[in-house]
């Protein structure tokens, strides 16, 4: 393959005077070399970044004995498929998945909807304090979570919300500052005439929002929904602090519980199986919504 390319590259060199031919031959050889080098680096680096994932899959299919064999088998043979059935026994894994799903679902649906509603208020409605309140939204975006977490925990204790999913869900009912910001910026790019036309036809504000703004903002809303799912599914610090009983945990905290709890014994293979279960929805979502990710990050510079 390479040889043929080189041949065809050499073909035009048969033309006129000697000096130029040699020079262009050299240039072409150099270009070919550079191209090969470029692909070697690109493919090599990609493989290096992909290998840890393969290692995760590999470890999740190893029996515990295989970890202690020297040298470890490169491909687990036979694959210990039973890890994926055993994993449900090491802890209330089904509860963790349920809890994570509930929180992520509310975040994606209700959270995104309310963020859009609030963003619409900031983008379209003139009310006293609009500018100042929006400035506050932007500043809370930059406020690190750890500054408010201690009084929040005390508040949740007073409300008897600790060790329930409420602290993870209720704050979502006001929308998230970052998504409000993102959507407001997007709504501002939509022509105001559309709203006005609908208003003249007698549509209420809510109708304008629902029948004009939302349909036109599908890409932006999809981006927010995707980010929101990832950040809720992966969230660790906050649920780690407010949740306690083993069956109340989310999947991310549950994995930590496996490490710290009564299952201190080496269970690397099962931990890897759970880790893979935790990562799977995100990876699948990524493949389906790749362009939303890429655009979202490029737009905002923040990861989920």
């Amino acid at each position: 393959m390479t040889a043929r390319t080189a041949d065809s590259n050499l073909a035009p060199a048969v033309v006129p005077s000697g000096g130029r031919t040699i020079r262009s031959r050299r240039v072409q050889a150099l270009q070919l070399l550079l191209r090969t080098f470029y692909y070697a680096v690109l493919i090599g680096a990609s493989i290096m970044y992909a290998i840890p994932f393969l290692w995760m899959i590999r470890a999740s299919l190893m029996s515990l004995d295989m970890f202690y064999v020297v040298p470890q088998p490169l491909v687990p043979n036979p694959p210990a498929w039973n890890n994926y059935t055993d994993v449900w026994q090491v802890g209330p894994v089904l509860w963790w998945i349920t809890n994570s799903t509930i929180v992520s679902f509310v975040g994606v649906t209700v959270g995104t909807f309310i963020s859009a509603l609030v963003a619409f208020g900031f983008a379209r409605l003139k009310f006293p304090g609009n500018r100042i309140l929006f400035l506050i939204v932007i500043s809370t975006m930059m406020l690190p979570q750890h500054v408010t977490i201690i009084p929040q925990v005390i508040l949740f204790r007073e409300l008897n919300w600790l060790d329930t999913l409420l602290p993870l869900i209720v704050p979502l009912l006001g929308g998230a500052p970052f998504y409000i910001f993102l959507l407001r910026q997007f709504f501002l790019t939509l022509p105001l005439e559309l709203d006005e036309a609908a208003s003249i036809d007698g549509a209420s504000r809510m109708r304008v929002f629902w029948t004009v703004i939302i349909p036109l903002s599908k890409p932006a809303i999809a981006t927010v929904a995707v980010f929101s799912f990832i950040s809720h599914w992966n969230d660790f610090f906050f649920p780690l602090i407010v949740l306690q009983s083993s069956e109340r945990l989310t999947l991310a905290v549950g994995m930590r519980w496996l490490q710290a709890g009564q299952y201190e014994a080496q269970r690397l293979h099962l931990q890897m199986a759970i880790a893979l279960i935790a990562v799977a929805p995100v990876v699948i979502l990524f493949f389906f919504a790749q362009k939303h990710f890429i655009r979202g990050i490029a737009l905002t510079g923040i990861k989920g």
């Binding site: 470029y38 692909y39 690109l42 493919i43 680096a45 990609s46 493989i47 970044y49 290998i51 840890p52 994932f53 290692w55 995760m56 509603l117 609030v118 208020g121 900031f122 506050i136 809370t140 406020l143 690190p144 750890h146 500054v147 408010t148 977490i149 201690i150 009084p151 929040q152 925990v153 005390i154 209720v170 704050p171 006001g174 929308g175 500052p177 929002f209 990832i230 599914w233 992966n234 660790f236 610090f237 991310a252 994995m255 930590r256 490490q259 690397l268 931990q271 890897m272 880790a275 893979l276 935790a278 995100v282 990876v283 990524f286 990710f293 890429i294 990050i297 510079g301 990861k303 989920g304």
Partner: protein, 284 residues
């Protein structure tokens, strides 16, 4: 106004209230039971004069920031340049580099515990080039480099920001540079890099803020050890507040951390005017 009320209510209740309460708590002694006891500036004095672990955690975080931030920016830049060529299968390569950034921190942490074992993948790889890898996670010298190495796996977000910026550079600038006889290196230095400065600035700000908030990997991979060599500020705060329940003191840590982040960010914006180029702005 009605539209923004949901946000306003949760803001007052879950953000502004706790924000003010946390200032107050940082001047008290509060152990999660009973009433907070006013101690004035004692918590802050203790932080800087009588808490070796806090000082250690600040130094550790500085160490991490100093290596992680330039490292990840250079690597992400390099990868973005690689991916910005016309190649077949670009989405596949992009996915390989980006996917680690969206996988859960906890899952990533478990994976790297495995990779960093004495006979793990990292050391096997080093063995191929004739290096006898250390026992990363049990050595107080190598635990921090191990976490930094792990952080480089997550360059995807930074890389995507660079890629978007690269694609936004108008082609005519390169053509003009070619006409002036600029080679590949000169084009890189005089066109690409200046046009990328806003993206470079953005990622520097985000990465530095992120470095001060390292938590998951420090808790799960090394649990702050060995011998506090990977004790990060946020981990220290977590232990103080939620394992020893010294919530007043933990609030003081939270505020010092907040001020540090604020100062770093403001400093960066202050210096930015000297080196960040915004197209279309009249002042340089």
């Amino acid at each position: 106004m009605l539209f923004v009320t949901p946000w306003l209510i949760t803001f007052l209740w879950f953000t502004l209230g706790p924000f003010i309460a946390s200032i107050f708590l940082s001047f008290t002694n509060y152990r999660f039971i009973g009433l907070p006891e006013w101690v004035g500036l004692n918590n802050y004095v203790r932080l800087f004069t009588d808490d070796a672990k806090f000082i250690r955690s600040v130094i550790n975080t500085l160490y991490y920031t100093a290596v992680h931030v330039p490292g990840i920016m250079i690597m992400a830049f390099f990868v973005a340049i690689l991916l910005n060529q016309k190649v077949k299968g670009q989405p596949i390569y992009r996915t390989a580099f980006y996917l680690p950034s969206v996988t859960a921190g906890v899952a990533t942490a478990y994976l790297w515990i495995l990779l960093l074992q004495p006979n793990g993948l990292v050391n096997q790889f080093l063995g191929l080039v004739g290096i006898d890898g250390p026992n990363w996670l049990t050595s107080s010298t190598w635990a921090m480099p191990a976490l930094i190495l792990m952080s480089f796996w997550g360059l995807g977000t930074t890389m995507i920001i660079y890629l978007a910026a690269l694609q936004g550079i108008p082609q005519h600038l390169y053509e003009a540079a070619s006409v002036d006889g600029a080679g590949v290196i000169r084009k890189m230095w005089h066109v690409t890099v200046p046009m990328m400065t806003p993206a470079i600035f953005l990622t520097a700000v985000l990465q530095i803020i992120g470095s001060w908030q390292v938590f998951t990997q420090a808790l799960i991979v090394t649990n702050g050890g060995p011998r506090d060599s990977t004790l990060f500020i946020l981990l220290h705060l977590y232990r103080t507040g939620f394992e020893y329940f010294q919530m007043g003191y933990a609030s003081a840590i939270a505020w010092v951390l907040f001020v540090i982040i604020l100062v770093f960010t403001i400093l960066q914006f202050g210096v930015a005017r000297r080196w960040v180029y915004y197209e279309g702005s009249t002042e340089r």
